[in-house]
Each structure stands twice: as structure tokens, then as C-alpha cells.
Symmetry: D2
Subunit: 315 residues, 4 copies
């Protein structure tokens, strides 16, 4: 991740702000506010604003519960209770805003989370940065054999070199031709005074999907957790997980109590189907259960055993 | 609006907070933060948190516009441009949270705005306050003759007294019976030790719709303006307009530039249909237009003339 | 539930429609289309329109999966897979519309589900029906001792009679005074020609929360299942559960394969936290686990044991 | 637009369906149901399902208005009234589903409309079609001089050829290398048996943004109109307008009364700001107004004059 002098200065200026407020603050999050946290080869995540903290969740839940909540006495107890019982609206009372730089093919996954506010850098107005994502060696994987949408073994040796060369060469060439069609270089210099520049909204179509874009992305804590539950999961594509992992860390700094409950009940937890429950009950009673009489498909059986780490029971 | 000692203390405690933050602040809004601004006879609105200010709109728009925006040079120019051309997403980058006390029949109107976060005081858990809305004399109006959903002339004299008596008596009686069924008074004292109390989730059904409830309500600036455009309008029911008017004032303190653009382009502006445009064009050219050859219905004609204050042309 | 002659005729007329369409149809759902299915004492649910069936889910999932899905060969297998792995968007491709008559205090719970389209009967325009909900004897329950928002023992005998009397009397009286203020009876007759009628938008505030209202409510299958998961649950208030139960049955007629997967993975299933997983693992291995060394609170422990029906392990 | 034999057969099979339903139908829309309507060089739009018609809007509005609507007697009058006064919820009661094939850079614009349901063809599972968008000659335009995000003069002659060559060559080359990295051709044949294939979720990043993708896209009539108002507008990028124009035509076939009101009040209409209203009033009264004393900026003045087709008054 490279930042221009100007960009670095802009960030520093924001970080020097010392405003007084009657609002609640999240001191750990303040420490990294505006900082560009690197992700992948050229991407970053910056927390640029936030609203509320753990106490805001309790505060709004207590309005909705009024005098009735005295029993769940501590904030932590209440937050865990809310998380466990899917009383989700109090978590919507906290809001966070990120500035993210990310490859376009990842942006296309990300945007499928609709309950968020987005402003993307416009390639109709402006020229996109000359930056594109190239996977590092350990992330260059073959198509998985058993998961139609996942990755399998690492590709290395000559084939790895060849692939990275193709990716690099194609990205560079299409970007060069993008500039040629625009008749303008990224730095604003005109290429040929006797030519017109193709409209930016058209020229952009020549860029490859690993080109970096950037956006402001704002959402509430509930929807952020929904995003993270899916995108920080081991089945998510590595490139989006890299962002989700950094974001998980910002959640920890922002709302530490909620973070803990989230890790316990959502990220680290599991779901069991009605049929799966019966299997678990029998196993606990010491009865023998086999996939054939379990009512589960082989696939369901394996997923159930895997979720409880009984690798030896997988078939 | 009455607040208990405890509630007053809670508000004062919040107002005494002096936190340091790197986030942007809205100094005029900070001045009234947490304050209970009275609405109707027992209601209030409190701004309890906010995120962003006018510069946040510009900041996120500039990401989406990148280098291309240099021409619209000032923040104010850009904000006006965005408002005029319905580039609405940058306005979603500011967020505000209110604590509102309001009659249930108004809460039912309000909640129809779905793009917001809400936590309401729960009458399944808690006993509702013994407070109900009674209109003031100047708001006691008859059904309108020409608008099926509006108000017409004021009702006064004996009939007004009679109506206010009925409203007061029925609200008090149903509340008394609510306590009787709960076998518990609002202050928590048991009425009859030998009786059970009806479940709160059932007893509440005996209350009248002018009973006050309260909630935390959080939304972004764009959706707040959508709300205010409809609810601060002269066709809105007076009781919700009373809230919207106070909220408009908080918008002015929060994002003064956006407020001005909103008043000019939305609140004070008007829409003209394709057929209406032809009428206006002819009027400007000095041609005679009559409803018969205008293509407009009588109703449309009158609405068009009214929107340009040509009362004399109304038929 | 009473319907007027006119209403019955309207329903019959709709049911007689015999249109030809190239769209997919759900034959079992067609059989009950438009029918008013009774709920509570005066409420009903009518399915008034729908879009798609089980095959629509598969169809849209296969676009998103393209050629890659051949392996999960049958529709049923794919639908179960989607449900299990929270691939939720294909379930949004089916849509259903209900006409519902329900008490206002239940409507207020229902409306909290925001991802739906709603048109409610307007009490600003029209006079509400003279119908209010009175619980049947077996639903007249006391406040729960151990659940702050639930019901406990049945209230019967003299106290039950007294409560039902109060509810009935108050609803009738406030409705009578509603008519008096309107100076108009429900059937449209004027009460006193020398008096004005109070604006409807004001008079309605005198009604109690058990008054029936009605609305058109439309949502997609995913959001319907989210609604049903919460509202057909045993912790939901009985009065909304009564509606949810009927709706569950319409889902079964509409999309039988999805219904089955929903019952297995969502309704009949359970969630286990990270800490709870360790407890289950130990129990399966035959190790002794006690609440003290489980890392769970007493409450969490009991909820875990209850979800697997180990009542004897509850403390 | 080319369809394979298999695809053509699938469409024909759907079109041969003759189901009986009690639901309302839209006969004109039924005629083109499932048909692939060509857009751009390789794209299409297919209506694959719908719910409701013009009468559905009236039906749900009448619930919300109850007995109060007798005055606006005809369906058409009511629909126009609802449109004019932004009573928008009844338009949400109709739903439509499209299958769309479109270039990725247009898909990225489209997806910004969040209130819709989407299933996109997954390039993590499947190999994308070898089809990419190349503008026709009359759409190859230079960057606009006065609109930072629009198009200006046509580019023709040698430069046009050169640009089209670059676009074609780069798209073909990056697609070839995409197959090479996958070690698999679009038709499923393996390229080199001794090599692994790069994971599809990675290989796709080498494709250019004019590659075609496809999705199922479902939305309600209100949100469809919001989409069309922006995207069928002359300021929208030509390539998305091409889709919007076809969709406008499907709206006409589906809900002809609503279509007419939409064209009159939204598409063909205009908005006037508070300051603009004063200018119009003065012009009608025959008073002289100049930009200097109008309170409008030069830009606002020109936009106002343009919206009323007073080109001669533009400065």
C-alpha cells in the first residue's frame, strides 16, 4: 500500500483533530481513527467515523425494556442476553464508517450486502489509480476438487510464475490502453494534442477486474456483524476475508463486550438441525448412531460431525 | 412535559460529559445534545447522538467523484448540486439518533418510515406511563369537507368541552382498569395481595391510542429529510408535524448548509407534470390557457395554480 | 370472524377468476386463494397473491451458480443445501401478499419487521370497524414469574370474569364515544345534525389497542421465514403466534420443499455457542461437565440443556 | 445476442406453459413473457415472472383508504392521485422479475439500487461466457467538455477504429489467458492434462469490465420506477439507458395506467426550487427577471430555463 504525500498529509491532519464532545467515545478506536490499515498488496481499510459504544446498546435496549430489565444487572449480561436471543435491534444503534481500497472483483462481492451506505470513487468522473491486485504465492490456489466454489492445493513452481506473469502483463497492458483511449495519463498529462479522449465512462470497460477501486462504506453494528459472520468465515474467499479480519479487529476496539458475545455465539458457535439434534442426543446417551439410520444425508452427517470436531466420525 | 428527578439527573449527567474525539463535531447541535425539547402536552424529542456534519457529505462525495470535482469548488456549491440532481447517497453518510416520547397513534404513523432503526419501550416488560395526549383548543378541528383525510374548522364552545371531557375520562378510566388488571399500580405497588396480575402483554390492550410511548429512533440524513419532507408538510397531521418542526430545527443546527439546500429544493420547491409544464410555458408566453384545453383535470389545475400561488386562477 | 354479504361476494368473485398464465402456479395454494382463514375472535388472514414456487428458487440459484451446480442434482437437495448454508438470496425470489385483519397491539409488533410492503386501512379517512379482541379463557394468563416479558399461569374463576368484563366494557364505551365525537355512527348515519364531527384523525385516539385494523402485507419468502421463525416460536406472544401458525400452513401449501427444509434447519433446529460446543463434546465423550467448570452462566446452561431436551440436567 | 439451442429450447418450453390461476394477469405482458429482448451487442432482458396489475394498486390503496375513497371514482383517477401526491406504498404491491444479461461495468451501476433482490451468475462456480461489449460507432463518444461525467462529440475515423481494435484485442487476450489459467476452455475441455487449473474465484480477476454477466433481478413497481426515472433519463450512461428503455416498455405492457401517470408526473415532469418558483411567477406576470437578481446561480438559471425549454433564455 502506497500513499501519496498529499494523502498522508490529509490523514495526519484528520488525526490531529482534538474536538470536545458530549457524545460517548470509544478510546481504543480513537487511537486508530483515520489510519490506513494495509490489506492485500495495495488495499487498505480506514475507520473514518463511528457513533456509539457498548453502552449505547444497553441504553436503547433499556428504553425498549423500561423498568423491566433490572434483573439482568450488568451491561455485559444484557448484551450477551440480547445476542443469544436475537434481540437484534439494539445493535443497530451503533454505526461505523470505513474508507476502503479494494480490487473490483472483491467490491462486487462486498456490495451484495445491501443494508449499508456506499459512495464509490467514480470512474465516470475520474481516472482510476494504476494499481491492481496480484495474489501472493501462498494464495495462488487451484480449483478445489470437492467444493465447487472454493480453492484446493497451492499452485507453485513454473505454473505459478506463469500465472502471475499473465496477470501482471494483462493488467498493465489493459491499463496502458485505457490511458491511450482516454488520451490522458493518470497524472493528467495529455498524450496526443491532436486527438480526443474517449469518455471515461467508456474507457473504464477495458480495465481488468483486479484493478483497485475505493469507497466510503457505512453500516450499523448489526449489519456489520452479519457481514463479518459470512466474510470472516473460513468458506469466504481469501481476498475478502483479509478485509473482514481487519474489520473484526476494529469491532474489538470499538465495542469489546459485543465483540466477545459475537465471537462466542455467532463466529465460534454452530447450528444444529432438528434431525441433527436427535443424533447429538443419542450420542450423548451413548447410543450408537450411524448415518444410515440418522435421517441425515452423508453430506449433512459430515457437516454435523465437523462442526463438533469429530473428524474421526466423518465418512 | 414532566420529567422525574431521576430523569433530569440522567440528562444532566450526560450533558456534563466532556470527551475528546478526533471525529468531526457539530458545535450548535452539541449545545442541545440530550436536552428534552417539549412537543405536544407530554411529549419530547432529544438528540442523543449523531455522526458527521456538512463536511462529511462533501468528503464522501469527493471519493465517489475523485479528482473530477474540482470545478464545483466550494462545499456549499457541491451540496446544492448533489441535492438538486438527486445524488442522494452522500447524504446517507450522516446519522442521527433521537429519543422521542409520543402518543401511540402518532407512533403508528411514524413507524411507516421503514429505513430507520427503532427500539421502543416495551409494554410486554414494563408498565406504560400514565400520560395521554389531549389536544389543545386550537387543535380541536372538525373533519374537513373537501379533504377526506384532513381537518377543517375549529370546534369550540360546548362541543369542544364535551369532546375533551370524553377523551380525558376514557383515557383515565381505561388506564385505571389497566392497573386493576395488572393488579399493580404504575409506581410498582401491588393492589390486592390475593390476586394475580394479568400478563402485561395482555393488559396493555385496554389502553387508548393517545397513551404516550417512547423510543430510540436512528436514521441517516437522507431518510430524515424524506421523513421531514412528508411530515413537516402542511398536509401532514398536526400532531406529527409538531415533532417534525422541532426536528427540522435540529437539522439546521447539525448541517446548516444541507438544511438550506433542503429548504430551497425540497420543502419550498414544487413539482410540475409534463402537462403542467406546457401550461406554465404558455402562461409565460402570455398565451391564454384554460382548464378545458389544458389536458389537466380540475383538481390538477388547482393544485398547479396553488403551487405557484396563483389563487386567482383557481376554479 | 364475521364478513358482510358484500365482502363475501367480493371474495367469491375473486375465487371464480379463471385466468390463463405462462407463469408457474402453486396448485395447493390456489385452492385457498382469497379465502378468509379465521384467526382469534374477529381476525383473519387471506392469501391474495403470490409469485413463484419451489422451482423459482432453484431457477434463480442456478443462474447464480451456472453450470457449476450439476452435482447437487435434485431440486430438493439444492434447496436444502441453500437453507443449510445461508445462501439466502434465492429465497427472496418468491413473493406473497396477505390481507390481514388483526388487533392494533399485534399490528404494532408485526410492523417491526421492516422488509415488507404494507398498506393499512386508514383511520384518517375512514371509520374503523366496531370489533375488538377479547382473549378466550385459556389465553387469559398472569404475568410470568421467571420471564419478564411472558405469561405464566392461567387466570380463571371470578378474576377472569372481572377482567373480561373490564376489557369488554372499556372497548365498547370508548368506541361509543368515538362515534359520539365523530358525530357519526359506523354505518354512516349522522348522530346530531346540529353538531360538527371531530376530525377522524383525532377521534381515533380514543380507541383501545385491542380494536381491529387491517392491512395488505407483502413480503418475500426469505423475510417471511425470518418473520415466522420469530413469531411462530413458543416465546412469541400467543396472539401473533396464532397468525404465524396459519401463515406457516400457507407456506407449506405454496413451497412444500422449502417448508420442509425450513422446519428442519430453522424452526426445529437450535444454535450452540462456542462454549456450549465444548460442553456437548465432553458429554458425547462421556466426560462429566458441571455448570461450574463449563464457562456458561446458569441461565446459558439451562438454555443449552433445554434445547437438547435434557430436562434432567437443568439446574 | 446469440442463444444456444438448449437455451432457446428452455425459453420455448416456458412459453408453452398454460396454467390456470385465480390471480390477476397482465395479458399484454404475458405475450412477451420469457422472451429474450435484445439489448446492446450481446445482452438481453427477459421478464420471467410478475405479480399484480393496475387493479392491485387500487385494491391495496382502498384497504388503506377504506370507505373514504368513493370520491376518486375511477381506478385511473386514483392511480394518478397516488402518483401525484407521493402516496407510494400501493405501488409496492406489484412485483416483477427480470433475467438480464449485461456487461459487468453496467452491472456495477445497476446494483447501486439496493431495494431489489438479485442472484448473479457466479464466477466462483462457473466459467463466464466469452462475450464482451463493444460500443457501436455512434456510441463511441469523447469525454464531455462541460459535464464531468458525461459524453461529448462522437469519435470517428481512424481513432474510432483504433479504439475498437484495442477494446477487442484486450478483451480477447485477457479471456484467452483466463482460460489458460483455468487450464480449461469455456466448453469444458481441459487444456493441459499435466497442469492444475487456477481457482475460478481467482482467474476471473483477469477479465475486463466489458465482459458480460447475467442475473435474476426482482423488484417492486415503486422501486422499478425509481430505477427507471434515473436510468432512462438523458443524463444516464447510454449503456444502462438501453436496458431502461426496454424495461419502460415492459412497464407499459404490465400496468398501462400507472405507466401513463409515471410518464406525466415523473419522467416528463420537472422540479422547481423555492427560488425558481419566484422566477416563474415573475415571468408569468410579465415582469423582467435576470439571473443577477434571481437569487439563482448561472447554472441553476440555465437548468431552470432548460427544464421549461426556454433555450433562448439560457446564458
Amino acid at each position: 500500500m502506497k500513499l501519496t504525500k498529499e494523502q498522508k498529509q490529509d490523514i495526519e491532519d484528520q488525526q490531529k483533530q482534538q474536538n470536545t464532545t458530549k457524545r460517548v467515545t470509544a478510546p481504543e478506536l480513537e487511537k486508530i481513527l483515520y489510519e490506513a490499515l494495509p490489506v492485500l498488496d495495495h488495499g487498505f481499510i480506514r475507520v473514518v467515523d463511528y457513533m456509539g459504544d457498548d453502552t449505547s446498546i444497553v441504553q436503547s435496549a433499556r428504553v425498549s425494556y423500561g423498568k423491566g430489565t433490572k434483573k439482568v444487572s450488568t451491561d455485559s449480561g444484557l448484551i450477551k442476553y440480547l445476542m443469544r436471543h436475537w434481540h437484534s435491534t439494539p445493535f443497530e444503534m451503533c454505526e461505523i464508517k470505513y474508507h476502503v481500497k479494494l480490487p473490483i472483483f472483491i467490491a462486487r462481492q462486498w456490495i451484495r450486502h445491501r443494508t449499508a451506505n456506499v459512495n464509490e470513487y467514480s470512474a465516470r468522473y475520474s481516472i482510476l489509480d494504476k494499481e491492481f491486485y496480484l495474489p501472493s504465492n501462498q494464495n495462488l490456489a487451484a480449483q478445489s476438487k470437492n467444493n465447487r466454489q472454493g480453492r484446493g492445493d497451492i499452485i507453485d513452481g513454473e505454473q505459478a510464475k506463469e500465472i502471475l506473469n499473465l496477470l501482471k502483463k494483462d493488467a498493465e497492458q489493459t491499463y496502458d490502453n485505457y490511458e491511450k483511449m482516454l488520451n490522458e495519463r493518470f497524472d493528467g498529462t495529455t498524450i496526443n494534442k491532436n486527438k480526443k479522449g474517449l469518455a471515461r465512462e467508456l474507457a473504464r470497460m477495458n480495465l481488468t477486474l483486479n484493478t483497485y477501486t475505493q469507497w466510503y462504506w457505512k453500516t450499523d453494528l448489526l449489519n456489520l456483524m452479519n457481514f463479518l459472520r459470512l466474510r470472516a468465515d473460513s468458506h469466504a474467499q481469501y481476498e475478502i476475508r483479509a478485509y473482514a479480519d481487519i474489520m473484526l479487529d476494529t469491532v474489538k476496539k470499538w465495542v469489546p463486550i459485543t465483540y466477545e458475545a459475537f465471537m462466542d455465539y455467532r463466529v465460534g458457535g454452530t447450528e444444529v438441525s432438528a434431525k441433527g439434534k436427535i443424533v447429538i442426543q443419542k450420542l450423548i446417551k451413548g447410543e450408537e448412531v450411524k448415518v444410515e439410520n440418522s435421517g441425515l444425508s452423508k453430506r449433512e452427517w459430515n457437516e454435523l460431525m465437523e462442526s463438533f470436531d469429530f473428524k474421526e466420525k466423518m465418512i
